[in-house]
């Protein structure tokens, strides 16, 4: 399974990559929304599978996470990709905005590995036999 981790923090990308790796996922990385779209285009043009998951930070330069969610949701070829916002934006109104824009799950920073694995479970992406 391929996943896409979008966060302007290299530290956070490394943390999320480690967690998703423990769930058996290969990880593509991008530092902002526009870069994520570029990475996806290159990946798909090279014959890669559509990622099953994108974890998306909210506050990023160039293109923020909410814009990226909208851009991904408009793509019919990416309908199979689950979108998880992973962000410090903890307010109810922001969560509602993200879900309305098309995010499937929402994880607030800080989070533990178990928190993220539980979200994967909710999305049906937890590895078989794994306990969230």
């Amino acid at each position: 399974m391929i996943s896409l981790v979008v966060d302007d923090s290299r530290a956070m990308r490394r943390i999320v990559r480690s967690i998703l790796g423990s769930a058996g996922m290969e990880v593509l990385e991008a530092g902002d929304g526009q870069q994520a779209l570029d990475v996806l285009e290159t990946h798909l043009a090279g014959g890669g599978d559509v990622p099953v998951l994108a974890t998306i930070d909210w506050n990023m330069p160039v293109m923020d996470g909410l814009e990226l969610v909208g851009a991904l949701r408009r793509r019919r070829d990416l309908r199979g990709m689950s979108l998880m916002m992973v962000t410090t934006e903890a307010e109810q109104g922001q969560i509602v905005r993200a879900l309305a824009a098309g995010a499937h799950e929402y994880l607030i920073k800080p989070f533990s590995a178990d928190d993220m694995l539980a979200k994967l479970d909710l999305l049906g992406l937890a590895p078989v036999g794994a306990e969230a």
Binding site: S9, I15, N59, P61, T88, A90, K109
Partner: protein, 162 residues
């Protein structure tokens, strides 16, 4: 566990205990296996120390101000090791330490924004090494934590109202 938590010169929009809880939740999420945080009352960070790291992030909304974070060199390296899952004896690369402090101030600032500036905006983090970040505004709060085995490894969070 002891924490230093001082009110500042003007009334803060959130309780000190809430900010302490934010800092502790960040600590426990990223470093669940490490020691509980602790700090000596006299603990201070000299941001001009070689290797010391400072970060800041702006919050705009019901409360408008700046959240800053400062780490001694030792604390910055330890945070980088626990967050990036590096071996205990590894000296983290400078860019790893920068990234770690940037994400720390982002997470702490974001959670403080949720407490006192609902619907507001969070800026992008700014990080510097061995330098004092100039912040315009009045200090409202100071929270300090440290590892108990090395009390000089201090992490300090401050709130300044604009």
């Amino acid at each position: 566990m002891t924490l230093v938590a001082d009110g500042g010169t003007t009334a803060a929009p959130v309780a000190v205990e809430d900010v302490v809880e934010v800092v502790l939740s960040v600590w426990r999420s990223f470093a669940p296996e490490s020691y509980e945080p602790w700090a000596d009352e006299a603990a201070v960070v000299d941001p001009r120390e070689a290797g010391a790291m400072s970060g800041s992030i702006t919050v705009t909304g019901d409360w408008t101000g700046v959240v800053t974070l400062a780490c001694s060199a030792g604390a910055a390296a330890r945070w980088a090791r626990v967050m990036l899952m590096l071996p205990e004896d590894e000296v983290p690369a400078s860019e790893d330490v920068y990234d770690t402090i940037s994400e720390l101030v982002n997470v702490v600032g974001g959670n403080i924004k949720a407490l006192c500036a609902q619907g507001g905006q969070l800026g992008l983090p700014v990080v510097a090494e061995g330098a004092v970040l100039q912040v315009a505004g009045s200090e409202q709060m100071r929270v300090v934590v440290a590892w108990p085995d090395v009390p000089e490894d201090v992490l300090e969070v401050r709130m300044f109202v604009a």
